[in-house]
């Protein structure tokens, strides 16, 4: 609407003997502004607060800096984040000791917080101490990189900072590039601490104290955030500042409306559209649609391996051969993404140690029936299949097809649609026999996936698989420095996984970023949000 409004203004201005002032000026401001709408909303300015949304992560990436950040690479012609290239953000350079137990960071001399004070190693120390000490989200994440205790962090001098590791851990450095270990202006934050709240969690939730590319202008939780450019920030690629002078982030819950907004040009970029809208916008060809399979994510159908009848491996295999993958993929995602089934593995061995990996399964009802018979259920059984309300758009058609297809081998399925909170509770309590979910790994390495999602009695082990061999290989692989050995471990893990079939992988959905033709620089990020600092207008 804004655009049409401006056009009208222009028309009117032209008719009124070329009064020029208002129109062009406004148009220029609009060009330097990025407007972005999402379904969910920003609920905190500190990404560490439990319950933070992905939208909140995206904001924190622009308002705060971290020590390091990921580079980017091209995958099938699209820009994606690169786990293997880590470059300094607040750090000018870093150095890993030969034994892999020490990482030393040299901070930028010119880095300043938004209040003008310089960024020092003390600030870094306080920030990382907070990340591993306070009861916040960062703690669990940094654990995966062996960062667990404040004693591991040391400020050598104002511009030198050192991290000590108990064991060489290849995920230590990448962890510092994730969302949580933001570097906070410790002096400012400390002035807002209280006895019960020594880490200023309450204050930082509604305020920023960072050195990031954007300065907070206004924040209405659940509605909108406005940011303006920090002109002093020079930590973009090539030492540049961010392109857009102003960012407007709004929450628009109705997905069809989001599609309308971007199509009408009122919004510059949208990522979480429905597959059908993305497809139709792509077909219309007026906008740029960048569709990246989320290669660090996966959607699957999970079975509770401890609960009859899914405790029988043949039942799980029967399910794997009884699903109409192609139809499900088409109906649910309109084919937008990467199927994880239908592969052929030469001599039945996994072709690689990477994960997620395409499985050699496809719809084969005879085979499914045979497995079912072998499991002792020749006539099938009854079960309940659950998915959460928030995922209805894709899960519902998928579930309908699943029900229909399993009916053909005698398995009667009752579909249960659960509000998100109920679904997560029941998953944690391991009460769901059969359901669909999705996972994402920020640091997508094979051992990371297996350790977090296939071992232990914990929430993320959706299938509750308890396989000693898989567990021990995954633990070993974590600290395996040798790339060849690591690959071999990966192949072994993939083989066990296929054999046991704890859950049936379905696909990696695409991240469809739909944007105005003028927008450039979009990169798919590990946190599955837009990093505003990447974008510019042509």
């Amino acid at each position: 609407m804004r655009l049409t409004y401006s056009k009208q203004m222009l028309g009117a201005a032209a008719a009124l003997a070329f009064v020029v002032a208002a129109g062009p000026l406004q148009a220029q401001t609009r060009a330097e502004t990025l407007r972005y709408v999402t379904g969910a909303s920003v609920n905190t300015l500190d990404p560490n607060i439990p319950g933070s949304t992905r939208e909140a992560f995206a904001v924190s990436l622009s308002t705060y800096d971290r020590l390091v950040s990921f580079g980017r690479k091209q995958l099938n012609g699209k820009w994606v984040f690169d786990l293997d290239s880590i470059r300094g953000e607040l750090a000018e350079s870093y150095e890993v000791s030969p034994d892999g137990l020490k990482i030393t960071f040299k901070l930028r001399k010119d880095a300043k917080f938004q209040d003008g004070s310089p960024v020092t190693a003390e600030d870094v120390k306080w920030s990382l101490d907070r990340a591993v000490t306070a009861k916040i989200l960062g703690k669990a994440q940094l654990l995966t990189g062996s960062l667990t205790d404040a004693s591991q962090f040391k400020a050598i001098d104002p511009l030198t900072f050192e991290v000590t590791l108990p064991k060489p851990d290849k995920l230590a450095l990448p962890n510092l590039a994730t969302v949580y270990p933001i570097i906070i202006n410790s002096k400012l934050a400390k002035s807002h601490t209280t006895e019960e709240d020594p880490w200023a969690q309450a204050w930082l939730k509604d305020n920023t104290a960072g050195s990031g590319a954007y300065i907070l202008e206004s924040f209405k939780p659940g509605e909108q955030v406005m940011l303006k450019r920090n002109d002093d920030w020079n930590r973009g690629p090539g030492g540049k500042q961010a392109f857009f002078k102003r960012l407007i982030l709004q929450s628009v819950p109705e997905p069809a409306t989001r599609a309308n907004l971007v199509e009408k040009g009122d919004v510059d970029i949208v990522i979480d559209l429905q597959a059908s809208d993305a497809q139709s916008l792509e077909a219309k060809g007026k906008l740029q649609v960048i569709s990246t399979p989320q290669y660090n994510a996966m959607t699957f159908i999970s079975m509770n391996n401890q609960m009859p009848p899914f405790d029988k491996v043949d039942v799980r295999r029967a399910i794997a051969y009884a699903l109409p993958y192609d139809d499900m993929f088409k109906a649910a995602l309109f084919g937008r993404g990467e199927l994880l089934t239908g592969a052929t593995w030469a001599d039945g061995k996994p072709p690689s140690g990477a994960f997620p990996i395409k499985q050699p399964i496809k719809l084969d009802l005879d085979k499914a029936k045979a497995y079912l018979k072998a499991a002792g259920f020749p006539d099938g059984f009854s079960t309940t299949f659950s998915f959460n309300v928030g995922q209805s758009a894709t899960a519902e058609p998928m579930a309908a097809l699943l029900k229909e297809s399993l009916g053909k081998i005698g398995i009667k399925v009752d579909i249960q649609k659960l509000p998100d909170a109920q679904m997560s509770t029941q998953i944690t309590e391991k009460k769901l026999p059969f359901f669909t979910e999705g996972i994402v790994a920020w640091l997508p390495s094979t051992d990371y996936f297996y350790r977090n999602f296939y071992t232990g009695n914990q929430r993320w082990n959706y299938s509750s698989i308890d396989n000693a061999e898989l567990t021990s290989i995954a633990q070993e692989a974590r600290f395996e420095a040798d790339k060849t050995k690591y690959e071999a471990d990966g192949v072994k893990l993939n083989a066990i996984n296929f054999d046991q079939m704890p859950q049936v992988p379905l696909w990696q959905p695409s991240q469809d970023a739909v944007m105005a033709p003028s927008i450039a620089g979009y990169t798919y990020q590990f946190h599955r949000q837009v990093d505003y600092r990447d974008l510019s207008r042509k």
Binding site: P255, A256, A259, N260, E263, Q274, S276, D277, Q279, S280, P324, D326, D327, K330, A331, V389, G390, S392, A393, E396, P397, A399, A400, L401, K403, E404, D414, I415, Q416, K417, P419, Q422
Partner: protein, 282 residues
């Protein structure tokens, strides 16, 4: 129904063609609901992904949906479920409300006051949110949707029955029934209630439409019946996602069915009110 009432009804219908059409429409709906499985040309839940999202054609009068299911068949079969939900929800609140309300209206006193308090509490709730909360708490099964809809409707029926009984409790024929040896309870149930029912039936008919809309609203926010069961509200809610992509038939046809059903019930209720309203009798 006495012959005079029928005669009066005929008189009203003649002067009120809309009501006649609405009555015919409602009857048709109920018939469709009863014979849905035989009327539907296709299996309403059989998918055919190869033919997904086809525009209306001779083979598929109302097109096909995301899974290639025949929308027309789904609409027909959904009639059954939607009418069941609406009728049973309204029926429950009607029966409970009539009995409780009538007892309160007749006896007054402590019962009336405590029920009145309960009704006040229910009325003070934001009703749709209460329905949502109940469905969320009890699980989104058809029974629970019915129960939630019934409960949020209950206060209106209680109040209505209470008021209607209250104005009649001191009429001669009520006292005459007492003098003829009826107990209070049987006076309420056998004498007062039957006389209050016609007016409440009007209320019920108006309410049916509302119950359908309410169920559709619950579906829209994801608290409707389970997939793949066809239900108008869910079909509309799902179809709404396709409005901007030009797949208009997904929302248009179920929406039309829902609208027509609600419209029929509302107009019928309106008409019934005219038939029963003594002020309109000459």
């Amino acid at each position: 129904m006495s012959s005079a009432t029928l005669q009066h009804a005929a008189f009203i219908l003649r002067g009120n063609p809309i009501t006649a059409v609405a009555a015919a429409g409602s009857t048709l709906l109920i018939l469709v609901g009863l014979f849905a499985p035989w009327l539907a040309p296709y299996d309403p839940i059989a998918s055919d992904v190869a033919n997904a999202l086809q525009a209306p054609s001779a083979a598929h009068w109302a097109g096909t949906d995301q899974l290639g299911r025949d929308v027309f068949s789904r609409i027909i079969v959904a009639t059954q479920l939607d009418l069941t939900i609406a009728l049973s929800a309204v029926g429950i609140s009607f029966v409970l409300g009539a009995v409780i309300g009538a007892l309160c209206g007749y006896t007054g006193g402590r019962l009336d006051r405590s029920v009145g308090r309960f009704v006040d509490v229910l009325m003070a709730f934001p009703l749709f949110v209460l329905a949502m909360a109940m469905v969320a708490a009890l699980g989104n099964r058809v029974e629970n949707i019915v129960i939630a809809t019934a409960i949020i409707n209950l206060p209106f029926y209680i109040r209505f029955a209470r008021a209607e009984v209250n104005v009649r409790r001191n009429l001669g024929w009520v006292e005459a029934a007492r003098a003829s040896g009826e107990s209070h309870v049987s006076v309420v149930l056998r004498f007062l209630l039957p006389n209050v029912l016609p007016a409440m039936v009007v209320q019920m008919s108006l309410n049916l439409g509302w119950a359908i809309i309410n169920a559709a609203g619950l579906s829209f926010i994801g608290l409707g019946v389970k997939p793949p069961t066809p239900e108008w509200g869910i079909m509309v809610a799902e179809g709404a996602r396709f409005i901007s992509t030009g797949k208009w038939w997904l929302v248009a046809f179920p929406g039309l069915a829902l609208m027509l059903a609600v419209l029929c019930f509302n107009l019928l209720g309106d008409g019934l009110r005219d038939i029963l309203d003594p002020r309109q009798r000459t």
